[in-house]
Symmetry: D2
């Protein structure tokens, strides 16, 4: 039910599969449309800060990654992407069975793309908005990712 | 050669040791003074993005952690801390033998503390400034960390 | 059609009226609900950058103000507020008959409140999203504004 | 005592002189070197928030402008510049005889430039650090400013 061309979907999935950190943390790419990406991170003791909650570093890692693939999905397959900067407000304790990060393109351009980033913690039917942020990315035109 | 009282040093080191993510990534706390903390992350295939460089999520995780402990070191041992927000500019490709993140308190207050965050990549004698950022934290007075 | 109590509306309007900069720029408070504020700035040669567009400083000033009053509207009349930090992405050239800034509370808390900030340029029926941002504020409980 | 070529100095000063907002606020360009710019804003009732302090919008406007000219000074005269995003932490009440904003280039590049922004309030011999921030800018190569 997504408008994303098959070659772009393969492009994003192949890029995601090459990210060593995502595998090490246990992150999965669970949603991808034109200009949107969703990433899921199940809770594990290897992801915690000093109180057993998800570490803000884990929250940041998946927020940044979701935004990067949301942006990449609006480019050409021959392009790649770099994060220029990003910012995140931590709104609530990041506790639950899993974190779900969503990146959404606000504006895509020839050079600069801007994404909204949101992370929710999910526990059964309870969903908590744990972080909201924004990301500025630059397109590397004609410099493929692989 | 640091002015940090022994109980505060133990307080920070004990908090750091309880962070599951830091152990999972291989992060070490390599410097601590009043208002400053340094954190080191050796390169590993488990930390990479799609090109084999350090993932921005790893850079963020250590920047946020360095700032948090820099701030905590200026509080009382009975206090704990939360990151409210942070932002990071990625200045250069994060490649090298290790990343070194430094957090430095710009302003510490009863409620709000602000830290400067900087991450350098080190390869032999080559040092590259790979990220610079800022963090806003809130003090939880009289709510100990453990 | 707003749920805002009359004393809170008067509280916000009185605070706004005391801001010398808003009068000097020609800013008007054009919308106020619980957790939302809208501010309008008509174009003038006194508001421009070097190309005759609205200066980013004008865009920032109204974005910050809209967020501040959106947050204040969720407090008690006896409380006041300070901006801790804010960030803004400039998405498009800020040209048009007027700028309209909207602040919207994402999370309001005892200490920390976070707002989303958006600025649109309006020219006849053309509306352009020129800036998007976020703001962290702190509540000064029981310290009235005047 | 500055290394800035005369044509670049004239380029920056001419651009600054065309900014309607800077004249309307009473801002002066008081320092310019390669990669650094300083801007001064004397206190006036036209610049205040509801307590008579400098409005955060005034602080932002001069911080953004100082960073923009710091960045522009590292380019070619044929280039112009746009702010992509910026962020600011407000550290202390902005009160005093004048505000002084400094922009300093952290990294200048073919496309992306990053500046550090700092604003101090000055009252007689008292200097207070009132804001610190960061700015991402994009170079418009070969698209002169005027």
């Amino acid at each position: 039910v997504s408008s994303l061309p098959a070659d772009m979907r393969a492009h994003v999935e192949s890029s995601f599969a090459r990210q060593g950190l995502m595998a090490h943390l246990g992150v999965r790419l669970t949603g991808l449309e034109h200009g949107r990406a969703r990433i899921t991170l199940p809770h594990a003791a290897t992801l915690t800060q000093q109180h057993g909650l998800f570490h803000a570093g884990a929250t940041s890692a998946i927020a940044d990654t979701a935004g990067g693939y949301a942006a990449l999905s609006t480019f050409e397959v021959a392009d790649s992407i770099l994060t220029v900067d990003f910012s995140l407000n931590l709104l609530a304790a990041a506790q639950g069975e899993r974190l779900v990060a969503e990146g959404r393109v606000i504006r895509t351009g020839r050079t600069i793309t801007v994404c909204a980033l949101d992370v929710h913690a999910v526990s059964g039917e309870t969903i908590t908005h744990v972080a909201t942020g924004r990301q500025t990315l630059i397109r590397l035109q004609g410099r493929p990712d692989s």
